[in-house]
Symmetry: C2
Subunit: 596 residues, 2 copies
């Protein structure tokens, strides 16, 4: 039932973003359009042949904790063997360390297909990539040789060890410690919670990236350092040697994402646990933040992929299943019409299409910024893109997590009673997607990150850049066939949004708690404006291609209709949100705990 749609991916990558231009950059000379499409073909084939088939069974039979080890479906290891052999573990890494130097946009597009097919199995390489990125950015050459290279080769997997049982979102309260040892390494002691991929028997080794405090360092987040803690120690020759003292203490059993082991890990409890400092002491959080930004875009993309899988499954169902008649035709003898003929089913499909393709555009736009930052020579321009990427990262994480989960809810609704059973994939996708508003920072955390930090950065330069880019696209839309009304609407919403932002910046400066009280509403509101922009960008390209009779007319009409849907059904919702934000509504902070 889940099918991968390459048409939209091609439209977004090539027609909207023009990623093949990156082949002009020294880093990406191998990635012309043909090569990109070849990479996507390979990813699609592996996703469909090796990831998709075991997705349902992996959900039904989740990994188990047996005799201190993780037992799981052998199909996971088999799928990852194919993934490894195609080189995807090293997709975006430097050739120097065995990587393929793929543009981030292209790597993201491959991830999208793997996650659509099977988010549980996909998590292992995606966590590995995140962990490897940290070593690539901040590790020593010796650490890179010992740990990064085998991760790029897909022989070692990686994890992120941030949360602890008593400190979820609040990293300042972590209590894992790192005591210096004589040889320059550290003894790690503590417990980490919610560690995805924290143990398994698939890879030769697991490289945990662990946040811990070196005793005597500054209090709070300023005293956090980053460590490499391997499951097995690695000799100078790169061979795996003895077991390190990081021990699986238990598996968490979740509503969804059941294919990914999620663990409680003990460090240094029964036997010594050795860790290696990455970069400077006490800089762990800033290193981790860089990784977290990428991880957050990845979480958003995962939400999009789950939304897309549900959209394709429910669309296929709506095109096949006869049900009832139109309200205009009351003759019970007339044949039933297909589900897709009903207005409300189309609304449910349009809502999914608008959410999924709008959010995918934002994920890819974010990746395109990463590519520009990596390859751009002009300092100012790079700085602008960095600030813009910082600003939209919480949106790229949260908006899909909210609205593609909503899309999964709609997918179930299209299938009705069948959608609620475990015989169809849509209920699983809905369960899986419920994780995304939680991990890598909840909505509430993203909201405070956006309004309490990103909006204020560099005197609001990120917001100015965002407004400038949106205005440029509004100008293009004004010139395009049939898009003037949308352009006008977005211009109005944008200018009101800027005004609201100004008020809130002032309020946050005066009293952070009161100013941030409705940060989540702000995140949601700005998210809708940004997604409307993403739709207008797509519509401009679709209108142009349509007028040039370039491409499938049905597909292009669908793009324009989905854009229209977003502007008719979604964007207008932001007005009520801005009214609430503008008056600094204090309902939530004046409500007293004992009034509940």
């Amino acid at each position: 039932m889940i099918t991968i749609d390459r048409t939209d991916l091609a439209f977004q990558l090539h027609d909207v973003l023009g990623v093949a231009r990156l082949a002009e950059q020294a880093r990406h000379t191998d990635y012309d359009r043909e090569a990109i499409d070849g990479v996507l073909d390979t990813a699609e084939r592996i996703a469909v042949d090796h990831f998709l088939p075991h997705a349902a069974q992996l959900d039904e039979h989740e990994p188990e904790f047996v005799d201190g080890k993780v037992e799981m479906d052998a199909a996971v290891a088999d799928a990852l063997k194919h993934y490894r052999e195609a080189g995807f573990f090293g997709a975006a890494f430097d050739a120097e360390w065995g990587g393929m130097q793929m543009p981030e946009t292209v790597r993201l597009a491959t991830s999208f297909m793997f996650m659509m097919a099977n988010v549980g199995t996909s998590s292992y390489p995606f966590l590995t990539t995140g962990a490897a990125n940290l070593i690539a950015s901040f590790g020593s050459d010796e650490q890179k040789e010992r740990f990064l290279r085998p991760m790029v080769e897909g022989r070692f997997f990686g994890t992120m060890c941030l949360s602890e049982p008593q400190a979820g979102s609040s990293l300042t309260d972590i209590s894992t410690t790192a005591e210096p040892r004589e040889d320059g390494s550290y003894s790690i002691t503590g417990r980490k919670m919610w560690i995805s991929g924290g143990d398994q028997e698939i890879s030769e080794n697991i490289v945990h990236m662990v946040l811990a405090k070196i005793p005597g360092g500054p209090a709070g987040v300023k005293g956090i350092s980053l460590f490499i803690v391997p499951k097995f120690l690695v000799g100078d020759d790169g061979a795996v040697t003895q077991r390190n003292g990081v021990v699986l203490a238990g598996l968490n059993h979740k509503m969804g994402y059941r294919g990914t082991t999620n663990t409680l890990l003990n460090f240094g409890e029964d036997s010594p646990c050795i860790g290696y400092l990455v970069g400077e002491p006490h800089h762990g959080l800033s290193y981790m933040f860089q990784m977290m930004n990428e991880a957050r875009i990845g979480v958003g993309l995962g939400a999009v992929a789950l939304g897309a899988a549900g959209y394709r499954a429910s669309l296929a169902y709506a095109r096949e299943r006869p049900q009832g008649r139109h309200p205009d035709s009351k003759d019970p003898e007339s044949p039933q019409v297909l589900l897709i003929e009903h207005a409300d089913i189309r609304r449910l499909l349009l809502a999914q299409k608008a959410a999924v393709e709008g959010a995918l555009a934002l994920s890819l736009y974010s990746a395109d910024l990463v590519d520009r930052i990596r390859t751009e020579e002009d300092e100012d321009s790079r700085r602008q893109n960095e600030l813009l990427l910082d600003l939209i990262t919480p949106i790229a994480k949260s908006w899909p997590s909210e609205y593609c989960l909503e899309a999964n809810k709609h997918a179930i609704q299209v299938l009705g009673g069948y959608g609620y059973t475990r015989d169809y994939p849509v209920e699983r996708l809905y369960r899986d997607n419920r994780l995304n508003p939680i991990h890598e920072g909840t909505h509430g955390i993203q909201a405070i990150d956006l309004l309490g930090r990103k909006v204020l950065q560099a005197q609001g330069a990120g917001v100015k850049t965002l407004a400038g880019r949106i205005l440029a696209d509004i100008r293009e839309a004004h010139a395009a066939e049939g898009l003037a009304e949308h352009a006008e609407a977005l211009a109005n919403h944008l200018s009101e949004t800027i005004a609201t932002t100004g008020k809130l910046v002032h309020a946050v400066a005066e009293a952070p708690r009161a100013g941030l009280a409705n940060a989540s509403v702000y995140l949601d509101m700005l998210g809708h404006v940004v997604i409307a922009w993403m739709w207008l960008r797509q519509a401009v390209v679709a209108a142009r291609k349509k007028s040039e009779r370039d491409g499938d007319a049905n597909f292009l009409d669908g793009k324009l209709a989905a854009c229209r849907y977003f502007f008719a059904f979604e964007l207008p919702k932001t007005s009520a949100q801005r009214a609430l934000l503008d008056r600094l509504d204090d309902t939530t902070i004046t409500m007293r705990p004992d009034w509940f």
Copy 2:
């Protein structure tokens, strides 16, 4: 973690609705306030002691189909034994047939507690009540003696057999047939899908209420008749005799509601299946509709109960769990604050409180209308209440199904990663509640029922009655302390809603499909206006009690704050919806299937 809150229930039943007044009616003389509270005490005790403890294990180990029979957790039968012994199977039925003649409001309040504790186990008696209602309303005295009495006693359970594999929402397309037999009974042949409680080994017998067509009858829904089809035939002495030809063909495996068997049943496939006509031939659908209205209010109430369970669980967690610090306090050495101190956590709790208590008010208001209709002497007044109940039924079904599901989403969010695990009840409640927008008529069906039928009934008399009642409460609110602003806001939203309704009525008359294209948006919009009214009614009472220093001041302040939340965060959303409805937006119907 799930606790039952009696304070709000008492406030709603006694202070807002004044249900004890019903003791003045001949039917309910036994139900003064003390007796009502005694019934609620008994229900609470059984819910907490016998329903709640096995809710999680029943979800984890769902009923299985073994050797043609259903095997399930023995705790279900035990819980229902206590339920039966307390007389709850006969709660609302006439004393003549062994019932307790309980007011519907009170019966609903008991259901609320049972469903909060364990929705899977609760389904068996609730389906039995629905089926028994049909016999009580339309069956012959002989049918009542043979089937209703043992259902009222809780010895026989009941089911509703409407849907078929090829016809879910579309009853006109059912193909189950009923051939007349010589003795006046019928031979039933066909397959019924999604039958909750369709088989089990708990009750002595199962009484299926089956929709089928008598050959030669009118086409479509006008040819549907209603039959009693018992699992075991029943002798003249009331004793269960031989097995009837209704056979369990399989169990459906769902995302939630796992404790309730959900079945595919075959009728008359291998052995003859005897059914007994209820009422007149070809009137089955109108009989079933009466039952469906009650069932729909019951579905809405189930959604509220699940929402309430999640709200209480997440509230308890937020009051216990330390996490982070306020944005105003950056000192990492300061102690962590409780989750409930964070503005965004309060928003998630307020959203739940506003949804759950607002929706409960609507469920109870609907039940109060049932009580008024049953006991009222004045014909005009009864007719008005009937039309109002008809009008609000799709809202009482759908609004809680949408927004209390959203509440369950928020409950998970409050618990963060813990909420996503199966160690806490909130993920189960969320899975359970996802059924409610589907069964007993999907949102889309409810929306068409509302705008295409209920709004038009009796020249819009239902809408006029609704507006009249809301305006009366607005006048009260104007006179109350601190509620003038809310009263004014609701008055404005109401008058705009009436204007929009007029436009849509006109449009539906001109072209049903176009007029009904956004019926779901109308349902959602009118639902918000109705819930705002429910909150204003509660606020009027809370303000009065507060000024009279009558009752717990914290509770009353909480009511006023939740009302304020609804008027600040929720009601304003309807403006954008009305704008879309007013312009008869045709995005969904102009989108062509091949454009997706």
